[in-house]
Each structure stands twice: as C-alpha cells, then as structure tokens.
C-alpha cells in the first residue's frame, strides 16, 4: 500500500480570549486530488484542531463567505485546489486589510459600511414604482451589457485585500463598494447618479485608485472592479467638465392594450396575498 500524499497547512491562529497575538500553527493532513483548501480545513477541524474557526457556506464559489489569504494571494478556499497550488506547505491566513475576529475570520463590516454609504440600489424619482411595480422597466440588451459584468460580485472581499490603497488607508472605500456604485450608475433603470456623486466627489470616491489592477486579478467571479472604477472616473471627470449627458432612467413598459383570451384557456385563480 502506498503512503498517502500529505500537505502541511500553515494556519494563522488567533484567539482573542487568550490574549496572545496571532501566530502560525503547522498541521499536516493527507491530501487527495480534487481536495480544495476548504475540504482540508474541515479535515483539520475533525481530526486535529476542533477550535479552528472560519467562514464558509456554499462550498461552490457563489456565496463569497470563504475568502482567505492562501499562499500569499486572496482567493476563495472552496475554489482553490490543494494540488494545483503545488507547494508542500499551504499558508492559510485571514484576508488582510480587515481586522481579525478569530483565526481565519475577518471583520468585514467596514467593507459593508462603505458599500451602504454609496447607495447600491436603484434610485429613481418614482420610487413607488420600484416598491410597488406596475410593470417591468424597459432595458435593451446593449444597456444591460454596460453593467452586467459588475452584477456578478459576491462580496467576498478578495479585491479589498489585494488593493494597495486598502493596505494603508482606512478612509478609502475600496474596490467592491466603488465597483458596485458604478454598477448602479451604469444601470439604465437607475436615476441616482446625482445622489451618488455627492459622495463620490469627496475622498470616498475612486480618487485613491491608481490602477494597480490587483482587484481584477484576484476576483473569483471575473467582475473586473478595476474596469468599473475607471469607467466611473471617466463619468465623474466628464461630469465635472460638463460633458456628461445624464441619460434618463428607463421607462416602465406600457401595458398591452389588446389582449384577447384564447378559446378554452381558463382564468387564473384570484391572488392570495
């Protein structure tokens, strides 16, 4: 019988109750092809260190919970194959540029606060239409292309860890909030550019981004926040130079007026809500 392959996890441990600063701990586990870093963490918790804490949920790269600093690169633990990393030692640390709550769990609240401050939702004059819709908003496939890429964000925080400005500046909004602000500015259904501009024109805007491009390099969903931020800078500069044509928000699709029920098709039951 051949000896199983092993890999050594170098984990960044931190227990606030102990009063000790964060420290590394090495744990060796057997590894099989196809095992992800997240699978390895579960093996460690079951067999070696039951106190290890981390966040995970879907284990398939759609929830954004398991962002970690793996071998010096922010990535999702569930999306990272141990064998593909190719090193005998796999360093797993919590996402940098966030305070550590415990072990591999970062405090993501500053990211969500910055996100909320940039009003990441549809803003229109007719907000009653948004909350009690009478019909759909008209939007062409071309208009959808302007912002669709940026809607794939799963708020995992990997971009925030890769950004050099986030490394030193606590006042910077960060790639995720700024890219999401542009996702709404570029959405033809939204009329909130004026409101968001009030925040974006200040130091909370994209002005401390210098296109290092790291956010786009590490994004696990291909959202390309760097592209969103530069497109937003373009809009803001043209707006300052009075060259930006604010498009009108999409209209509501008109109700069809000529509807004849086909023969033999029964009426729908009454709504229950």
């Amino acid at each position: 019988m051949t000896t199983p392959d092993t890999v050594t996890y170098r984990l960044r441990r931190y227990d606030p109750a102990s009063g000790q600063p964060p420290a590394w701990e090495d744990i060796t586990i057997p590894v099989t092809p196809g095992m992800t870093v997240l699978d390895g963490l579960k093996v460690i918790k079951e067999t070696a260190s039951p106190t290890l804490a981390w966040r995970s949920s879907c284990r398939m790269g759609v929830c954004g919970s398991c962002g970690m600093f793996i071998n010096g690169r922010p990535q999702l633990a569930c999306n990272t194959q141990i064998k593909e990393l190719g090193t005998p030692v796999v360093t797993v640390a919590p996402l940098p540029n966030f305070r550590i709550i415990r072990d591999l769990v970062p405090d993501l609240r500053p990211m969500f606060d910055a996100h909320a401050a940039l009003m990441p939702h549809i803003i229109r004059d007719d907000m009653t239409e948004v909350f009690e819709p009478t019909g759909e908003f008209l939007q062409t496939p071309e208009e959808l292309e302007h912002f669709l890429q940026f809607t794939y964000c799963i708020k995992c925080g990997c971009c925030m860890s890769a950004c050099p400005t986030m490394a030193t500046d606590p006042a910077y909004s960060g790639p995720m909030p700024l890219a999401q602000a542009h996702r709404y500015n570029a959405d033809s259904r939204d009329g909130g550019f004026g409101s968001r501009r009030r925040v974006l024109a200040t130091e909370k805007g994209p002005w401390k981004c210098h296109y290092a491009g790291e956010c786009s390099q590490v994004c696990p969903k291909g959202v390309d926040p760097a592209r969103a931020i530069q497109l937003m800078k373009r809009q803001l500069v043209f707006d300052y130079l009075k060259l930006f044509k604010h498009p009108c928000p999409s209209k509501v699709a008109p109700k069809p007026t000529e509807i004849k029920r086909r023969e033999g098709v029964p009426e729908a039951p009454a709504p229950t809500l």
Binding site: P94, N97, F147, Y152, Y211, A212, G213, R227, L231
Partner: protein, 145 residues
Amino acid sequence: MIDNQGHPNRLGVWGWLGGGKWGAERYLYTLHRLTGLGLLLYFLLHIFVTSARALGPEAWKASMGRVTGPIFTVGEFLVFAAFAFHAANGIRLVLIELGWAIGKPIEPVYPYRTSVHEQRPLAIGVMVVAGLVALAGGLDFFILH
C-alpha cells in the same frame, strides 16, 4: 456578536510594494510612485539651483559649479530616466483612467479576460518607449558628451 475590537491586520506599506506574487501592473504602480517622489524632490531643489540665473553670470556659474561632477551626472541621468518612465506610464494611466484603454464590460466567462489583459499591450508599448527615451538620454549623457 463580535464583542472584541478585532486584531489589526492591514498590510501597510508592504502592501504598496507587492505583498505577494501578483501582477506586473502592481509594480508599475509602485515604480510610478517612486519616480514621482524622486522627481518631486529633484524639482524642489531645481527651482532654487536655477533661480541663480536672475542674479547674473557669476551667481549662475557658482550655482552650476555646485552641481557638476560625476555623482551629479549620474544623478541627473537617473532623473531623466525617471521622467521617461513616469511620463510614459502617465500617458498609459490617463488612457486607462479615462476609460479608453480598458475595453468594454463583458459577460465574464472563465478564464476571465479582465481590463488588465486588455491594457497589457499598451503597458508593454509604454515600457518600450520609456526604455528607448532613457537609452537616448544615456547616449547623450555619457557617450556623446
């Protein structure tokens, strides 16, 4: 509930320098900062050194005399090279940050072709231009003089 303030975990200035094995554009950003600081420092001194021309030929010759010598020649060439890089990369940054060189938003299909890939030919071109200008300067500084 989180009942402690959490342990600080920012990368700090190490995060400016790379922090890990990431993309080349990260290092262009760092070099742009370094050359900018170097050029600023030189420029602030340059204002004072060249202001001597307002005081006549003797003052001018004295001021120029203070900045001649092999160390100053090499130093001035480094300033020239820094300018070549900073200007070429600056052109690239203007094209990127005003949205021309980064391509349109796309439907992300793995492997993702991000704006970083779109601008890479521009980045390479810009580095070649900077290198050629620095080379021309080096020729002028060290060989032809």
